[in-house]
């Protein structure tokens, strides 16, 4: 109990003794974990969007203005890869747009008429059939244009791949930066107390007893820095969700308590682990040197 009390008291002393250095270290850790968190959020959102689009097995075939829908539906019914085909009239298309954007009336008053063409929404049985079916339907004389997720998904997938690599690079750079900064902070604390540590080791204190306050200092710095970064990040992400839900309602960003929990574990866990690792490395180097007889 006395040892525990000593460790807590000593940790508090370490955190307040070189306050400016500790504060700067904390700011660096916050900045580093903000960068890591942002790159992770960006990466997971793009990956999620790509997989959402990829899993969309529908093709929208836009018909020419005067085209007869019956022959189209007949040809589609004969294609085995098609699970479902549904005709969407211009009126229904306008209604759906109005439900999504709430601006249907404005469009009609602006253009004077409903500009949306008739279309057929086709659902294929498997993702790998998407391209073949789209090409075949595009060749129908009644069809003006075909839109499907394949191409967009491919582009997003390559963007997600790049962003994953980018997030990894940010993570590595951040890791190295925080390692250097935190180790230097711990080393400054060790240097300022080298005589005291020397006396402690001379009177029989174990390396664990001497090092625990420094380890705790590292854990508190890493953990609290990451926690502050996480709070900033959550606040900013909530704000972005709100803005994007109005500006780009069709863009579904990830929004669930699991994301917060996952980010908490990753950032705060990472901060704590990083703090412990830096302190442990710096302290044990110092103690080994101090204990080693010359």
């Amino acid at each position: 109990m006395a040892t525990f009390r000593y460790i807590l008291r000593d940790t508090a002393r370490l955190l307040t003794r070189h306050f400016a250095v500790v504060f700067l270290t904390l700011l660096t850790i916050i900045a580093v974990f903000l960068a890591v968190g942002m790159s992770i959020l960006l990466s997971v959102n793009v990956t999620s969007l790509a997989s959402q689009i990829e899993s969309d097995l529908t093709i929208e075939a836009y018909l020419k203005a005067k085209a007869d829908v019956q022959p189209v539906m007949g040809k589609l019914a004969e294609m085995p890869q098609i699970k479902n085909a549904r005709y969407v009239s211009p009126e229904e298309a306008l209604k759906r747009l109005d439900e999504k954007l709430g601006q249907g009336d404005q469009i009609i008053s602006l253009l004077g008429d409903n500009p949306l063409p008739p279309s057929v929404i086709i659902t294929v049985d498997r993702a790998e059939n998407l391209n073949d079916v789209a090409r075949e339907v595009e060749a129908f004389p009644e069809v003006e244009d075909v839109i499907y997720a394949g191409e967009v998904a491919e582009r997003l997938a390559s963007l997600a791949y790049f962003l994953n690599r980018f997030a990894l690079a940010v993570f590595v750079i951040a890791l190295v930066t925080s390692l250097v900064v935190m180790m230097n902070t711990i080393r400054i604390a060790l240097y300022s107390r080298r005589e005291e540590i020397g006396v402690m080791l001379l009177v029989g204190a174990t390396p664990t007893y001497v090092s625990l306050p420094f380890l705790l200092q590292g854990v508190i710095l890493g953990g609290s820095g990451a926690l502050v970064a996480l709070l900033f990040l959550i606040k900013a992400y909530r704000w972005l969700l709100e803005v994007l839900s109005k500006a780009l309602p069709f863009f579904n960003m990830l929004d669930s308590p699991q994301i917060t929990l996952w980010l908490f574990c990753l950032l705060v866990g990472g901060g704590v682990a990083l703090g412990w690792l830096c302190s442990w490395t710096a302290v044990y180097q110092h103690i080994r040197r101090a204990l080693k007889p010359r």
């Binding site: 109990m1 006395a2 040892t3 402690m200 001379l202 009177v203 029989g204 204990l291």
Partner: protein, 231 residues
């Protein structure tokens, strides 16, 4: 604690011979003065016994410990059996007198209640209990030295090493420190003390080992000794 040194030499880089071929036996409960000029090897010998240094050649046995073979993990447990009074006290400036003594016990995991009892006992014995809340810089040289001794003996070591414990003290204070060291020795603790002080060696008789340029020049059992007389 018994000490046996056999053929111990210590050479610092570059080729500075601090100790050369030293053979020495100290029985359990003995009081031994180490005397000699500055640079004769007294402090090196004490630091070898405290395992701050490792001999270049030779063997040192302290109790059951062979200091050559002592692993780093065993070192704290070895040092807990030794009390050291440093020449420059090495008191921790941010701790008060009681805390300076208590931290040694806390560091080795003694329960809080026992820490309080033992700190009170040792500070009372060294007449520092009333001064327990003072910080080292608020204490006189004699008080700081007594505090350093209190810290060295609080965990009841089998061996007490004192490097010039009366070095910067007036005669009266030096005598009181010696009385304390002899009273500790009377409880069975082996005491090794490095000193330059002829008066102390004459007034408080004990075995005297004189070192000269790293070698044992004389080893006199309890008796009258003139320091550096034949040198």
């Amino acid at each position: 604690m018994e000490i046996r040194m056999a053929g111990v030499s210590k050479i610092f880089d570059p080729d500075i011979v601090a100790l050369e071929d030293v053979y020495l036996n100290v029985k359990k409960g003995e009081f031994v003065y180490f005397v000699g000029h500055t640079g004769s090897g007294k402090t090196t010998l004490l630091r070898l016994i405290n395992r701050e240094l490792i001999p270049t050649s030779g063997q040192i046995m302290v109790g059951k410990y062979n200091l050559r073979k002592l692993r780093l993990g065993q070192l704290p447990y070895y040092r807990r059996q030794i009390g050291v009074v440093f020449q420059d006290f090495k008191l921790l400036p941010h701790l008060n007198a009681a805390e300076n003594v208590a931290f040694v016990l806390e560091a080795i995991g003694v329960p809080k209640r026992q820490v309080e009892e033992r700190v009170k006992a040792v500070l009372s014995r060294l007449d520092l209990w009333r001064r327990r809340f003072l910080y080292p810089e608020q204490m006189s040289g004699g008080e700081q030295q007594r505090l350093a001794i209190a810290r060295a003996v609080v965990n009841m070591p089998s061996l007490l090493i004192a490097d010039e414990p009366t070095g910067n003290l007036d005669m009266e204070t030096a005598e009181s420190i010696m009385e304390i060291l002899f009273s500790i020795n009377a409880t069975g603790t082996t005491v090794l003390m490095a000193t330059h002080n002829q008066y102390i060696v004459d007034a408080f008789r004990a075995r005297v080992v004189e070192l000269d340029r790293g070698r044992i020049a004389r080893d006199e059992p309890k008796g009258e000794v003139e320091l550096y007389g034949d040198l």
